[in-house]
Subunit: 443 residues, 2 copies
């Protein structure tokens, strides 16, 4: 028989930007939030590393502690909200909380992407809820929208801009004429990029988030290793300008997961990509995120907004707390099914290996300006079975080399990789080829 | 003690386009849908007016009946799904179903907008769930996203394109150079507009939907009568071209609800409006809908997609059925709070009377081409306390009159109405003035 509860309590693991924002937002909009739950909601404790740090607007009534046991052993705490980030100790603490029968709300994309099955299997065994709206898209309620709002659909495709840093850099290059380095420095100055920006600009952050979006959308686990990954390093302002002038496209760093026509196998990739300027995601600029979902019944639905920041993330975290707290209040937490809990009933689609994924391509080659160079290049594409749809060579740089932009019809990633290897062996092609994808339907 | 249920059943009221699509989508994606519920889901019966009509892919096992009692009195039916549309008999049947203790899923914007309080008060008294995702935005999961996903936010503003017909007509005029009449005829030919298109083009459909969005967003009832309403009749292709050339704006039929700075009173309107071309809603074209929500924590979030059609609507209806069926299965249906249920705890903000709403304006006057005409016009605006921000008079038509476009700074709707009345009394101004709003922040 379910145990109802008149008063729901939670603890925060972590009191950084997001943790403090959760505490402050709860104080600010408490009446609104509690009316959605149907019960009072209390932030009882918060786990921190350093007791001396300033806690912003966290009320004095909140027990701030460095001792996890004082949270895990407190039988009055219903929900543990993990907002510390990083793999450890976050993962160990989440497991410990689940073992203790506590429901979980987490913003931790890294842990979810890596330990998806372990977490949901343990949660299933212990009959606890796990919610994770803030792990993808900041405050944009896309996780629950896919989980619940589009639950009647077979999802066919996710196309998403889910890393604000790379989007800010690409937008800075496209709209404000900045170089890659200048755009990156600006992002760092504004707090949108880390001192070491690799995690964002090489695509691992988007890869984690896509693993989560894929896992909820396709009813099967999508692993980090399943994602074909290429970051945005090497893209120049000229590449972006040519994409616009010659192809009518913007350059975006896209996270994509789609079922392959025919066998329904999953193609999962995070890659730089050309999108037509009238594409729904083409106007998702700056640090904004956009998640475009195609379902078999609903067609295409776009969710967009700020993908990061303390308050937007707190908005998502509290929406999850409300879901769980409602379930706690009426005594059904851990018993309402959600997609990830179905660990025994998952689909088992083939995941297409990176080399077999088919894309259209937009390739920048550095060619030596000599007679026959273009013919030799075209020959290599043909030898690898890749059909060229257009070539642009309209801007002559000083010196002896010119950038040549080649767009192609569909080919496999492996064919393109091999072609680039062969191309760079030509006397007429220098190293440093850039390969982007072209999300434009073939005519 | 809550009664759990191993097998959840529902009945459809209506087997038109949406009803048939619900039945077909359930058959197609049954495994997916039942895994979200955690229990089998059965469509047991459907109420129709004419037993002889073709039922598409509705399974033969479904009892099709003209007798409401056979549904209302069937104690095995848990959920009644109303997809017949119109005020009556839909409203009477919904009441009857609630009285019989059945949970409600409805796509009926008209009934909800008109009888919001009556329905939720009765549902509250009878402890039944009422869900309504499909009433606004077709398949776009915006209702639950506001209700749940943004539940931690104080909503400050909703700006939305929620009528596909008017958006299709305006897009046809803007992008395809059609006249209003031609664009309307096209919409009718494609099934996007009724033979009598008044309900859509005069704005009543959007008004119903805004009443619903307003009621869920601001925790208080927004009535049809609270909406300041102007349709899109009278807008010409030239108006749209001038808006683009002179103002860098597109013309959209916007549903807007916003809290007034200072006192937090609600301004609610459905009006033709100029939006800058880089506005998030400016690219929501054709029959698509877009709902832009601004919350105090999340900032701006956009939801967009197809706002109508059998399958998208069925997607929304079934997502609601899943919510309710889950609650039924674990025995808490009618006990999980949602915003609309809080009929006793609602806010009570002042609703700003139409005349007091402040907007910027974009006005097209038909002026007699004579010396001093512009001076006289400017004088009238000044006399009514309205500051002009720009005037365009760049296209001379044949004959003695010219269209003059005046954009203004903020003024009240009443001041503008009075100004137009005075303007049309001038010898230099002919009748037929068109007033649109200008959603461009003042510099």
């Amino acid at each position: 028989m379910p145990k109802t509860k008149k008063h729901v309590t939670f603890a925060l693991l972590g009191l950084g930007t997001v943790g403090v924002a959760v505490a402050e937002l709860l104080e600010k909009n408490r009446q609104l939030i509690e009316s959605r739950i149907g019960a009072p909601l209390e932030l009882k404790a918060a786990l921190v590393r350093d007791l001396k740090k300033d806690r912003g607007g966290v009320p004095a009534s909140v027990r701030v502690t460095t001792d996890p046991a004082s949270i895990m052993d407190d039988i009055d705490i219903d929900i543990v909200v993990e907002v510390m980030g990083g793999f450890e100790p976050a993962y160990a603490l989440m497991r410990r909380a689940i073992e203790a029968g506590k429901h979980i709300v987490t913003a931790n994309k890294a842990v979810l992407a890596k330990h998806w099955n372990e977490i949901f299997e343990l949660a299933h065994a212990k009959s606890v809820d796990v919610y994770m709206e803030a792990s993808v898209g900041g405050g944009i309620p896309c996780v629950q929208a896919i989980n619940d709002g589009l639950a009647a659909n077979r999802i066919e495709r996710i196309t998403a801009i889910i890393n604000g840093t790379t989007n800010y850099i690409l937008t800075g290059m496209a709209s404000h004429g900045k170089s890659f380095d200048k755009a990156l420095k600006d992002a760092q100055a504004k707090g949108y990029a880390e001192a070491d920006p690799s995690f964002d600009i090489d695509g691992m952050d988007a890869c984690h988030k896509l693993a989560i979006l894929g896992s909820i959308s396709f009813d099967q686990r999508v692993r980090i290793e399943d994602v074909h990954l290429q970051g945005i390093r090497g893209i120049t302002k000229q590449d972006i300008d040519i994409a616009r002038q010659e192809m009518g496209c913007v350059v975006k760093h896209l996270a994509m997961a789609r079922t392959r026509p025919g066998d329904g196998a999953l193609e999962v990739q995070v890659v730089p990509c050309l999108l037509p300027i009238d594409h729904l995601l083409a106007r998702v600029d700056g640090v904004n995120n956009g998640i475009l979902v195609k379902g078999d019944a609903v067609g295409e639905v776009l969710f967009s907004g700020r993908g990061a920041g303390g308050l937007p993330t707190a908005s998502a975290v509290i929406s999850d707390i409300i879901y769980v707290a409602r379930n706690v209040a009426v005594g059904v937490a851990g018993r309402v099914p959600s997609i990830p809990y179905d660990v025994e009933k998952v689909q088992n689609r083939h995941i297409v290996p990176a080399g077999e994924i088919k894309n259209r391509f937009f390739v920048r080659l550095t060619a030596v300006d000599q007679p026959g160079a273009l013919a030799a290049i075209a020959r290599v594409f043909a030898d690898h079975g890749i059909s060229i749809s257009s070539v642009a060579q309209n801007e002559k740089e000083k010196g002896s080399t010119v950038p040549v932009y080649v767009s192609t019809y569909q080919a496999s990633e492996k064919a393109m990789r091999d072609a680039v290897e062969s191309l760079e062996k030509l006397s007429s092609v220098k190293p440093g080829t850039l390969v982007m994808r072209l999300e434009v339907p073939e005519a």
